[in-house]
């Protein structure tokens, strides 16, 4: 399967009469976006705001971050089975508004967290402070239940991202990149000497506000299975997970999965990137056993030499991570696992809730309990009072002057477990 990504680099975002992309600036008609969102009667009202790198702006609580893309050639559309029809994506050509993003924010439940600061200390810990963001602040109608509210917000984000992506359909990309994954047979023929490597991608799947969708299917209902890496670049996986801001994967993380990109950069040179094994992190322990059994079985069946495993979330996924690692190593397949840590505010506690001697190669995204101070910023998009009951924060977190003292775990994407950031710990 072969896919060409055409990057249209976005350096600025402005409101304007007509939505269009012109020499690096994304112009957005505010009313047009509002009208689109309000098509969903679950919403009472919506605000549309801009947040650009360096602005003295704080966005919270952040539900999801989505990158505008459009399929210009090849079957299917972005977010298959979710927004577009169910069709196998991942081949042909896709254009990307690289440097832009749609951010959804909204109070689904009182305690939800997730901060993006566009400047100051907080900006260093989230990749989204470097993007030109269109932020949707949606108010639900009275009495809307959490399930419906979460779903409405999720789809609002996708809809607007797809709408903005359309603006790039006819543009000429500033830069293109081609990704190709051979079939297993071709792979053997093309790269007989290279080590066969796959990526085991663990998806959060624990229930309301903890779910991930693959071609529209809730991951907790699926057995471990395979994807071509390029399918993920067309939005085959989307996030419905909005708890534990620092290590949940946003839709932006999924569609720009760093492990996939870095494995492709070595593909055909030092390794043969065979594909992606996706597996879930269910509450039921028997599911954890079954899913990790299947990951190991698939890894063996594909004749792999090595895998990279990334988990998502805190606590119980450590058990799945160690199960996947142990069982795959037991097949004689070498593993490297990517995780983050909750080592306490002084860094002296046990980082993971599970451990095994076979997990001897670990990459860490940092200690999420580290306390940081976020300066007061001029503008806040979203709901300021939430910071008081924000995970990792405490009532003292939001000071009168608007500054916040809280743990790193309140920052969206801060200790991402796909290895999206450079933050680490020793």
């Amino acid at each position: 399967m072969k896919l060409e990504l055409g990057y249209i680099y976005i350096k600025d975002i402005q409101f304007a009469e007509k939505s269009k992309v012109e020499n690096g600036t994304l112009y957005v008609n505010k009313e047009e976006i509002k009208a689109l969102v309000m098509e969903d009667q679950n919403f009472k009202s919506v605000e549309v705001e801009l947040a650009k790198p360096g602005d003295s702006t704080r966005i919270m609580p952040v539900k999801d971050v989505i990158e505008p893309r459009v399929k210009v050639e090849g079957p299917g559309g972005i977010f298959p089975g979710m927004v577009s029809k169910v069709q196998t994506v991942g081949s042909g050509k896709t254009h990307v508004l690289k440097g832009a993003a749609v951010i959804t924010t909204g109070k689904i439940v009182g305690f939800q967290e997730g901060i993006i600061d566009m400047t100051g200390t907080g900006a260093e810990y989230t990749p989204f402070s470097k993007l030109n963001n269109l932020v949707l602040v949606c108010q639900p109608v009275e009495g809307l239940k959490q399930h419906e509210h979460e779903k409405a917000l999720r789809f609002a984000g996708y809809k607007i991202a797809i709408h903005l992506g359309e603006l790039a359909r006819t543009l000429v990309p500033d830069e293109s990149e081609v990704f190709e994954t051979p079939t297993v047979k071709e792979g053997f023929k093309l790269y007989p000497e290279l080590p066969r490597v796959a990526y085991v991608l663990m998806l959060q799947s624990q229930g309301l506000m903890h779910d991930t969708y693959v071609y529209g299917v809730d991951a907790k209902q699926s057995l471990t299975t395979m994807l071509y890496p390029t399918e993920i670049m067309d939005g085959a996986i989307v996030s419905g997970n909005c708890v534990s801001a620092c290590d949940k994967n946003t839709t932006y993380h999924h569609i720009n999965n760093p492990v996939i990109h870095d494995l492709f950069s070595e593909h055909g040179k030092t390794l043969n990137f065979v594909g992606v094994i996706i597996t879930n992190e269910n509450v039921y322990l028997a599911d954890k056993e079954r899913s990790s059994d299947w990951s190991a079985k698939l890894a063996e069946f594909l004749g792999l030499d090595g895998v990279i495993i990334s988990q998502e979330g805190f606590g119980n996924p450590d058990t799945d991570l160690i199960m996947n690692c142990k069982k795959i190593e037991a097949k004689g397949i070498k593993t490297v696992i990517i995780t983050d840590e909750y080592a306490g505010r002084d860094g002296s506690s046990q980082s993971l809730a599970d451990a095994d001697v076979s997990a001897n190669a670990v990459v860490t995204g940092g200690n999420a309990n580290e306390v940081i101070n976020l300066p007061a910023l001029e503008k806040v998009i979203g709901y300021t009072s939430v910071a008081d009951i924000i995970a990792g924060g405490f009532s003292g977190s939001l000071h009168e002057d608007g500054s916040i003292t809280a743990e790193l775990q309140v920052i969206t994407g801060a200790t991402n477990e796909m290895g999206f950031n450079k933050l680490s710990a020793r």
Partner: protein
């Protein structure tokens, strides 16, 4: 841990019941339990089905009369639920759901529901390691006492998340 005298004697009675087959002492103990603690002890017990240990009244109300689950309601904290689960595992019950389910941290959500198997057996190593690590994780997070002022709405949100996360496992039946 707010483990009152009531629940200690309740544990002893419960342990005796599960060991004896249906004979006089069992019935005697059961009746004693029923008489003394009927209102306090919102607990129903049928053999052969899995058991939900919870301090979330939404879970209790919803599933107390449901045919294929026993309920063990605890008026206490997230940690009390973990400690009760650990004692059960020490007695040979098996853990069916992960005690650290959901991404909510142990010093944030006050509610936790856990399912254990009803069929007693030899000590289950995996269950033991998971419950002990979960208790250590609870201790680790609660080094920092979060001074969170929960409104009624937020308490209900936490109850809802605990219920829905539990149901993502219950629908397995």
């Amino acid at each position: 841990m707010k483990e009152s005298l009531r629940s200690i004697t309740e544990q002893k009675a419960f342990a005796f019941c599960s060991f004896f087959s249906l004979n006089l002492i069992f019935l005697l103990n059961l009746s004693i339990i029923v008489i003394c603690y009927k209102n306090l002890l919102k607990k129903s017990k049928r053999k052969g089905f899995d058991m939900i240990i919870t301090n979330n009244d939404w879970v209790y109300e919803k599933y107390k009369n449901c045919s294929n689950h026993n309920m063990f309601f605890i008026e206490g904290s997230y940690k009390d639920v973990l400690i009760k689960t650990r004692d059960k595992i020490h007695e040979g019950y098996e853990l069916l759901t992960h005690p650290l389910s959901s991404s909510l941290k142990p010093n944030e959500t006050p509610f936790k529901s856990i399912i254990i198997s009803e069929n007693k057996d030899k000590l289950n190593m995996d269950s033991l390691i998971i419950i002990e690590n979960s208790i250590m994780s609870w201790e680790k997070f609660n080094n920092e006492k979060l001074k969170l002022n929960f409104t009624k709405q937020i308490i209900e949100d936490f109850k809802l998340i605990d219920l829905t996360v539990l149901e993502s496992a219950l629908n397995k039946k």
